[in-house]
């Protein structure tokens, strides 16, 4: 089938590459066409995801994927128009819908995947009655986005038009083979479900962080508690990790959206407000531990940070704990040395040249002569460092483990002063 995808979000790229790889003919229409053409030429996309660069380049060279002008209407032969724009690009989405009516006798569907407020899909439908507008909320997990697109646990489809549903099912048939992953409901319900899922995940994380703070005062290791809790089938293991806070463009935004939605509708949600507050507080947990360790005076200290991305597998730092940590440390006169496998260019763009930020290409360069090491993002390469080498390079062997990936007993034996979260 011929499919046009409007937007340059992660969802747009993954959808384009994955659907092209299953044989569809795709035109991706990003807002900055010129920049895109040069990025595509270099074979490196702005958004980094495992496998995405390669698949994207492959599909371009196979001729099934091309890049086009966002202002142009869909090609006449197109069966589905995807809206995968950012939350602030509502006007753009509206424009695309108005020019998406198919030629007489042709069938077409508009599939909205953008993170707009609940009810937007129905509003978009009103703009162009000649084409059905459905919603397929994006449920990608960053760092494993392709995988989660190609082997979806579920596909939430908000659609009340039978013909449109048949068309969407046909497009996604290659990824829906083992069993039927489609869950069909009204557009509003699908939009709200997506927010509710995010809210629930965030709530679990903040709940665990609250428990972790309590565990510390009780002298209990939250990691043991987590395993015990996760073994209960009513709870399950996912999203129970205590740590230095969640971030990322999606999770925080969706929770905020949901919380705002509830407060403007007059319902109000004390719970979600707390969830966000606990998380924001948690992003500074490593700072607080360091502050206490050095007797509330950090002037002139050197601190190494391992991992800046909001999660492993991505270079993005939006709403990541590292933002708050950097500001907190700098305000106290600390020099910060950061290593991250992917996020260094983003940090350089964001903060520019400054004497108290040193970006390091190798983890041990960052920890050299440091008064403390903060482990913020649990990239696999950090899990088993050469601890002797690490300790010898540091000015003081202090490790603040924001993801609880190390064994406290082992580290203490190896001569480190260890701080975890909730242990």
């Amino acid at each position: 089938m011929y499919l046009d995808i409007y937007g340059d979000s992660l969802c747009a790229l993954v959808t384009a590459a994955a659907l092209a790889s299953s044989g569809h003919h795709i035109t991706l229409r990003p807002p900055n066409l010129a920049e895109w053409q040069s990025a595509v030429g270099k074979g490196r996309l702005d958004i980094q995801e495992p496998g995405l660069d390669r698949l994207f380049a492959e599909q371009i060279s196979e001729g099934r994927l091309s890049v086009g002008d966002i202002k142009a209407p869909p090609r006449p032969e197109v069966s589905a128009v995807f809206l995968a724009v950012h939350s602030h690009q509502r006007a753009l989405a509206e424009h695309v819908v108005t020019v998406s009516a198919p030629e007489a006798g042709r069938q077409r569907v508009v599939i909205n995947q953008s993170p707009f407020p609940v009810g937007t899909t129905e509003e978009l439908q009103l703009l162009c009655p000649q084409v059905p507008v459905v919603v397929l909320p994006e449920l990608l997990q960053e760092g494993g986005a392709l995988q989660s697109f190609m082997r979806p646990a579920r596909l939430l489809l908000g659609c009340d038009d039978r013909d449109a549903e048949v068309l969407v099912r046909e497009i996604f048939r290659p990824f829906n083979r083992l069993s039927d992953h489609f869950l069909v409901m009204g557009p509003r319900e699908a939009e709200f479900t997506k927010l509710a899922i995010t809210g629930m995940l965030a709530t679990r994380v903040s709940y665990m962080n609250d428990m972790a703070n309590l565990a510390e005062t009780l002298g209990v290791d939250i990691e043991n508690v987590r395993q015990g809790m996760g073994s209960d089938p009513r709870i399950g293991e996912a999203y129970l990790y205590a740590g230095c806070g969640f971030g990322g463009p999606g999770l925080s935004r969706d929770v905020l959206n949901l919380s705002e939605k509830l407060s403007t509708s007059g319902v109000g949600s004390e719970l979600l407000r707390q969830v966000i507050e606990i998380n924001e507080r948690q992003k500074e947990v490593l700072f607080r531990k360091l502050w206490g360790h050095y007797d509330r005076n950090l002037e002139g200290k050197v601190v190494a940070i391992w991992g800046a991305a909001f999660k492993p597998g991505t270079g993005r730092v939006d709403n990541a704990p590292v933002e708050r940590l950097l500001n907190a440390l700098w305000a106290q006169g600390v020099i910060v040395k950061v290593h991250d496998p992917q996020a260094l260019p983003t940090l350089r763009d964001r903060y520019g040249e400054r004497p108290d930020l040193i970006l390091c290409e190798r983890p041990y360069d960052a920890s050299q002569d440091a008064d403390a090491l903060m482990l913020v993002t649990e990239w696999k390469a950090y899990w088993s460092p050469d601890f002797d080498h690490l300790r010898q390079g540091m000015r003081s062997p202090v490790i603040l483990d924001g993801r609880n990936i190390y064994d406290p007993a082992y580290l203490r034996q190896a001569g480190f002063i260890y701080y975890g979260v909730g242990r």
């Binding site: 500074e284 607080r288 500001n327 305000a331």
Partner: protein, 535 residues
């Protein structure tokens, strides 16, 4: 003799009702109002005429007002009994103004820079408490000038609160009996609370007791560690040694100087709570407004000089029309604490009965001041103004515009109508007080108990809007009014010996309460002590 001349003139004018004066001269408003910067001063509802003013100007000349103003701004020792200059004006002189000596200018602006850094740290959530959490609540502990000034301005400028300071609350604690501090501490978290101990001398008992309570409260929650004090206390004082003795490090102590009197100090680091509330840029606008008024006071001829006119009209009312009550009536709820502030400024400055030469004064000095937000006072003491037996002068104070600020985008329409209602009341009350029944449409016969005799003089001070700049100008105008009156009365407005002895006697009385030793007490005090001990 100018004084006797004025007495004779007053006897003549005393026969004339204010309503008659308005009939005599249709140009009365044009003749008797002045504008300067953001302020408009209307004296046309005072019981005087143009002739009165020129006689009062002669009085000012006879008392060498010009020379005294020069002495004030030259940094001379105008506070004789304490051997100090009074240079509050230097606190708001911008760099390079040439008004203050360069070394004073450097000191003042150095402290402003330090204030700016603290404000920035608090606003960005980077002032950390003992546990590393950002400070969310700032409590100013002070009394008198270290409380009323910042409290009054914080409330007055609430619409200008710094958006970056959202979530940062500013509180005030002053009363010595602990009722405010106990109430407040119940609602706060020690981990996120910062105290500003504001005391010029750092010996004020009221403040130190409250500070001790705060320290104990913190230490109970966080432990007895010197870092608790470092993270949770700032001091504003001229006595750095006493501050460090109490446990606050020098780098957490903002300075003021001997040459600033407590009730003139809100322009210094004493104004830190204001800067925290409205941001440093707005705080500097407040200073700029006051500096504008300093220049105006220095340079304008008497007939256009707002503070001088306010002062001379006050002298006229007190000494020649024999009126000894003065009400401060702001028609804007944000000026709620202005009456208390001016009560201190005027009564503590000019409530004196000894001249600069140490002789008893021969004429009355400062009248009794009191006041409240006008519309509320209308339901309280206005009855006495309209139909009581005491003559009273009033200052009506109001901004012309309100509720056009961004913060009021929602519901602004309704609020603007409420402000119009307040303004209408302001004008109606001053009119009725001045004219009495003549303000009413017809001269129908009414029983005595419904009559308004009028003839109560008042001044109306309007601002284009209540903003940092206009508020700064207004407050500085009152400061210079007070100085001008002190010159006319030949008294020192910058000392306050009358408040010292009570503090000393309280110390021995405390002994009596705690140890039961009534030796040397009068029978009334002994009787009361017995009741206290037996309760």
């Amino acid at each position: 003799m100018v004084w006797n001349d004025l007495k004779a003139h007053a006897d003549e004018l005393a026969q004339r009702h204010l309503a008659d004066l308005f009939v005599d001269d249709p140009q009365r408003f044009a003749r008797l109002h002045r504008k300067a910067g953001p302020l408009l001063l209307d004296l046309s509802k005072q019981r005087l005429n143009g002739d009165t003013l020129s006689r009062l100007f002669s009085l000012a000349d006879a008392r060498e007002l010009k020379a005294w103003i020069t002495r004030l701004f030259a940094g001379e020792e105008v506070n004789g009994t304490e051997g100090r200059a009074a240079m509050h004006w230097a606190l708001r002189a911008p760099t390079g103004s040439g008004l203050a000596p360069t070394e004073v200018e450097a000191l003042v602006h150095g402290e402003l820079e330090r204030m700016a850094r603290i404000v920035e740290q608090l606003h960005s959530g980077q002032w950390r408490g003992y546990t590393g959490e950002p400070i969310t609540d700032v409590v100013n502990i002070g009394v008198g000038g270290s409380d009323l000034g910042p409290l009054m301005v914080c409330r007055a400028l609430e619409d200008f609160a710094e958006p970056a300071a959202n979530g940062l609350n500013v509180h005030f604690v002053s009363s010595m009996d602990g009722s405010q501090v106990a109430h407040l501490l119940r609602a706060l978290r020690p981990q996120t609370t910062l105290f500003i101990i504001s005391s010029k001398s750092f010996t004020t008992v009221d403040t130190l007791y409250n500070a001790d309570t705060a320290r104990t409260w913190l230490q109970r929650a966080l432990g007895d560690d010197e870092a608790v004090i470092r993270c949770h206390f700032l001091a504003v004082s001229s006595a750095v040694e006493k501050v460090t003795e109490w446990g606050i490090e020098e780098r957490n102590c903002l300075r003021l100087w001997d040459w600033v009197g407590g009730r003139y100090s809100l322009w210094s680091a004493i104004g830190l709570p204001v800067a925290i509330r409205v941001g440093m840029a707005r705080f500097r606008e407040l200073l700029a407004g006051a500096h504008f008024m300093d220049r105006h006071f220095l340079e304008a001829p008497w007939e256009d000089n707002i503070p001088v006119l306010m002062a001379l009209v006050g002298v006229w009312n007190t000494n020649f029309l024999d009126i000894h009550g003065h009400a401060i009536l702001p028609y804007d709820g944000r000026l709620k604490y202005l009456p208390s502030y001016l009560e201190q400024l005027e009564m503590e400055s000019n409530g004196k009965s000894v001249t600069r030469d140490g002789e008893p004064v021969s004429e009355k000095t400062c009248p009794i001041l009191w006041g409240d937000v006008g519309p509320n006072a209308q339901h309280a003491f206005y009855q006495l103004l309209h139909q009581g037996t005491e003559p009273v002068t009033c200052d009506f104070i109001a901004p012309a515009r309100r509720y056009h600020e961004d913060v009021h985008s929602e519901g602004a329409g309704e609020l603007v109508r409420q402000h119009e209602l307040a303004l209408a009341n302001c004008l109606a009350q001053s009119r009725l007080l001045a004219l009495g029944e003549a303000a009413l449409p017809s001269d129908e016969q009414v029983p005595f108990y419904k009559r308004y005799r009028g003839n109560q003089p008042s001044t109306t001070l309007m601002m284009d809007e209540l903003a940092p700049y206009s508020l700064g100008a207004l407050l500085a105008a009152y400061e210079h009014k007070v100085f001008t009156q002190a010159v006319i009365w030949s008294i020192n407005p910058f000392d306050q010996w009358g408040v010292e002895m009570g503090k000393k006697i309280a110390t021995s009385t405390l002994q009596a309460i705690r140890e039961g030793d009534d030796g040397g007490m009068d029978v009334s005090t002994s009787g009361l002590l017995t009741f206290i001990r037996n309760s």
